[in-house]
Amino acid sequence: MNRYNWIVVVFVLLVALLAAGLRLDPTRVPSPLVGKPMPPFSAATVHAPQRVVGDGQLPGPALVNVWASWCAACHHEHPVLLALANDLRVPIYGMNYKDRREDAVAWLGRLGDPYIFSVFDGDGRIGLDWGVYGVPETFVIDADGVIRYKHIGPLDDDDVEQVLLPLLADLGAGRAR
């Protein structure tokens, strides 16, 4: 054992740490809202400015998807949501975040509407309460209106298969799968 071997030892430890780090997902930031009831709100929907809905009108288990017509990643995840809603009959509520109503309506008209309804959050106040910091985000809520999971960024098929569907099945969303 010569006196320089410690360098190699330090390096091995560093590599072990980096290897462990590779298996982690640093973008997974736990939301403080997970496990808590969804923050209350009351707002009009995108399609009907007169129709006011509140947190009581989101029966779970369901997904709440935060979207906006200006958000490129939402465009990207849209087919995934359409498939979820149409093929698997998962209830999805939209939250239209910091958007203009006419843009939002046109966007849904063009691309298809996977949402039961979309809450209109033009000034982002509801988003603030919900801790939204990037669009899109997707919340999973259970039958009691408690947030069980939050996904940040666009959903892809893997997220749906491996996380959302098993979780929804656990929560008793019989129609999911």
Binding site: Y4, I7, V15, L18, A19, L22, R23, L24, P26
Partner: protein, 662 residues
């Protein structure tokens, strides 16, 4: 077609690099001349192939070939030509190709400027660089091929990330890579010297200009990145202790330590083992930085799309390259004997102190960067380590470094007696303390301890550097004037002056910056630090691939107009991201900085105004450091010395061949 040619050229370059990395090493070991003579032509051919490959990708970008996945994802037809060329390195795959091209360029440079190196030694250096290149090319071809086709082809491109559409940022990555990759030369020299078994002053003299060149590029690259962040992120900050910034700063710190210890190895034949270790470490940290940025283990604004497969590959590469060289070091280092002897109070020891401070700084940053990862890996917690930690450890360490930078050049090699030294340093110390007191009192209301200490450190470095320069000129000057001193002495003085300016800039801009965030209607104004900012409204402007709301802000001081600023809010068409373009009125003593945000209710706009004293000095100081590096690298000593060693290297060559690898 041109895309396939580029791909093919890259595959060929890989094959050539693999040959360059293996056969010459074997040839050097067994003394087979035809084998080790392969290294030089292979290195040149490899570079030629890389140029072809890179040119092919650039041409495909210019032709808007959206059947190439990488181009479809990171360019668009409307992108200005200049940014199309810059988009080549706008994301992971292409920037990796640029990394490899630059490595090829450094290797090519070694094939041109190698006077004085023995043929065997040169072959080893080129082979080590070839191995590094082959590893990176394999990585590119296997996991991150920029030439991959997309079927069916995309109709339009998704455009370059708007954040990257800025002149400062387009040259930031190439400069940074020149620095990162440049340390590979010193690394290859160190590994070759370890393989060779002969480490002496000549090795240090050969390495030093290469290290200086790489260090200069890295300094410029980091400075550009900082300047870009200041300008483009819209928050007036210039350094964020982001993991990726740290990843570039750690090799810089080690590179700086290496520069100083190389001076000792070259002139005094001491610290040899230590210097070799630093050379290995500087490049290893560059590789670690590459891993951190490209594997997705850390969250950062800079991180590329993460892909575990890529992470595994780079980690394996890191294990082979860094682990291999460290193991070689641990095996060979006990045989390295330093012959230089020196007293406690000597320039050697002062430079050792400098090295220890820089290395400790590097380790504290490394710990701060990896700590969240370690906690997460152990399943303990998710945290992020931010500016408070880094500032708390970095600032005191830098003050120590500043103190040493003032004393070091005044101390003699080998031994210094304390009394003349104290006499010499007494005056600058006293003047620095008084000046700091005055500066702190003039700038702020009352003297704040932080400003006093910072101003004292800055003044101390400034005064000692100037006095040292004056003394040397008086001693050597009368006959030759300014030209009697070697360029490297001017280089050191310039770099230390840069350090002084940097300390002033950091101290005053962080202590006395003022900012206000207001909502303004057209015609309303806000006062800050004696300046009046009048918001004169917003106009629509159309750029090539974006729409812009351009504000007009008139700045007045005591009724006199100072400047008209045009902060922008740009919306890029394809990615529909809103980008803030801050407007800055720069002057040596202060920046006035205006950033414009979203429109809020009632037709008012969010406007942020900043007053930042001496902030230019931060970048000016860094640029002076880089200039100091350029001056040192141009020192005649390296050119003359190379010619001088040529004769005895011919003899050494013969003995190396006879004895094989020691």
């Amino acid at each position: 077609m041109i895309v396939e040619l580029g791909h093919f050229a890259l595959v060929l370059a890989f094959v050539v690099a693999a040959v360059q990395g293996t056969l010459p090493l074997a040839g050097a070991h067994y003394g087979v001349a035809p084998l080790y003579r392969l290294a030089l032509p292979a290195a040149r051919l490899q570079f030629l192939l890389l140029v072809l490959s890179y040119a092919a990708l650039s041409a495909a970008f210019l032709q808007d070939d959206f059947s190439v996945r990488y181009i479809a994802q990171h360019s668009s037809a409307a992108l200005p030509t200049y940014y199309k060329l810059a988009a080549v390195w706008g994301a992971h795959e292409g920037s990796l190709l640029l990394w490899i091209l630059i490595l090829g360029a450094w290797t090519f440079a070694v094939t041109l400027f190698n006077r004085g190196l023995t043929e065997v030694f040169l072959a080893r250096v080129l082979a080590v660089m070839g191995l590094v290149a082959a590893g990176f090319m394999l990585f590119t071809l296997a996991t991150s091929n920029p030439f991959e086709r997309l079927f069916p082809a995309a109709a339009a491109g998704r455009d370059l990330n708007p954040l990257l559409q800025d002149p400062g940022l387009t040259i930031h990555p190439p400069m940074l890579y020149m620095g990162y990759v440049g340390f590979s030369v010193a690394f290859a020299f160190a590994v070759s010297a370890l393989l060779d078994g002969r480490l002496d002053g000549r090795w240090a003299r050969w390495s030093r200009p290469w290290v200086l060149a790489a260090w200069v590029f890295l300094t410029i690259g980091i400075t550009l990145g900082s300047w870009w962040a200041y300008h483009e992120l819209g928050w007036g900050g210039w350094w964020f202790w982001d993991p990726v910034e740290n990843a570039s700063f750690m090799p810089w710190l080690v590179g700086t330590a290496l520069l100083h210890s190389l001076a000792v190895t070259e002139k005094r034949n001491a610290f040899k083992g230590w210097t070799v270790l630093l050379a290995i470490l500087a490049f290893s940290l560059s590789l670690l930085g590459t891993f951190l940025v490209r594997s997705g283990v850390l969250v950062s604004v800079h991180a590329f799309a993460s892909d575990p497969e890529r992470g595994v590959f780079i980690l394996l590469f890191l294990v082979v390259a860094v682990g291999g060289s460290l193991a070689l070091y641990a095996w060979r280092a006990p045989r390295i004997r330093s012959t230089g002897v020196f007293d406690f109070l000597s320039r050697e020891n002062l430079l050792l102190i400098n090295n220890v401070i820089l290395l400790v700084t590097m380790f504290t940053i490394l710990i701060g960067t990896l700590y969240p990862l370690a906690l997460d890996a152990l399943g303990l917690d998710k945290i992020s380590v931010g500016a408070p930690y880094f500032s708390a450890v970095f600032v005191p360490l830098m003050l120590l470094a500043a103190l040493a930078a003032g004393v070091g050049p005044a101390v003699q090699w080998k031994r210094s007696s304390p009394h003349p030294l104290l006499r010499r340093l007494r005056a600058p110390l006293a003047v620095a303390l008084v000046a700091a007191l005055v500066l702190a009192a003039v700038f702020g209301d009352g003297v704040s301890p932080g400003v006093f200490i910072g101003a004292a450190a800055g003044s101390w470095v400034l005064l000692t550097t100037a006095l040292n320069l004056g003394r040397r000129l008086r001693r050597d000057g009368p006959r030759g004037g300014l030209r009697s001193l070697p360029l490297s002495f001017y280089g050191m003085s310039t770099a230390h002056l840069g350090l002084a300016l940097f300390i002033f800039g950091v101290t005053f801009s962080s202590a006395y910056s003022e900012e206000k965030m207001v909502h303004l209607q057209d015609g309303q104004s806000v006062e800050l630090a004696g300046y009046k900012f009048v918001f004169e409204g917003v106009a629509d402007r159309e750029g090539p691939n974006y729409m812009s709301k351009e504000g007009r802000v008139g700045v007045f001081r005591g009724g006199e107009p100072v400047a008209v600023l045009h902060p922008e809010r740009r919306t890029y068409r394809v990615q529909s991201d809103a980008m803030t373009e801050a407007a800055v009125d720069a002057s040596p003593l202060r920046d006035l900085y205006v950033a414009m945000g979203e429109e809020v209710e009632g037709g008012r706009r969010e406007v942020r105004v900043y007053y930042k004293p001496l902030i230019r000095w931060i970048w000016l100081g860094a640029m002076l450091m880089a200039l100091g590096g350029v001056l040192s690298a141009s020192d005649a000593r390296y050119r003359v010395a190379r010619r001088a060693v040529r004769a005895d290297s011919a003899r050494a060559d013969g003995s190396a061949r006879a004895g094989g690898a020691a």
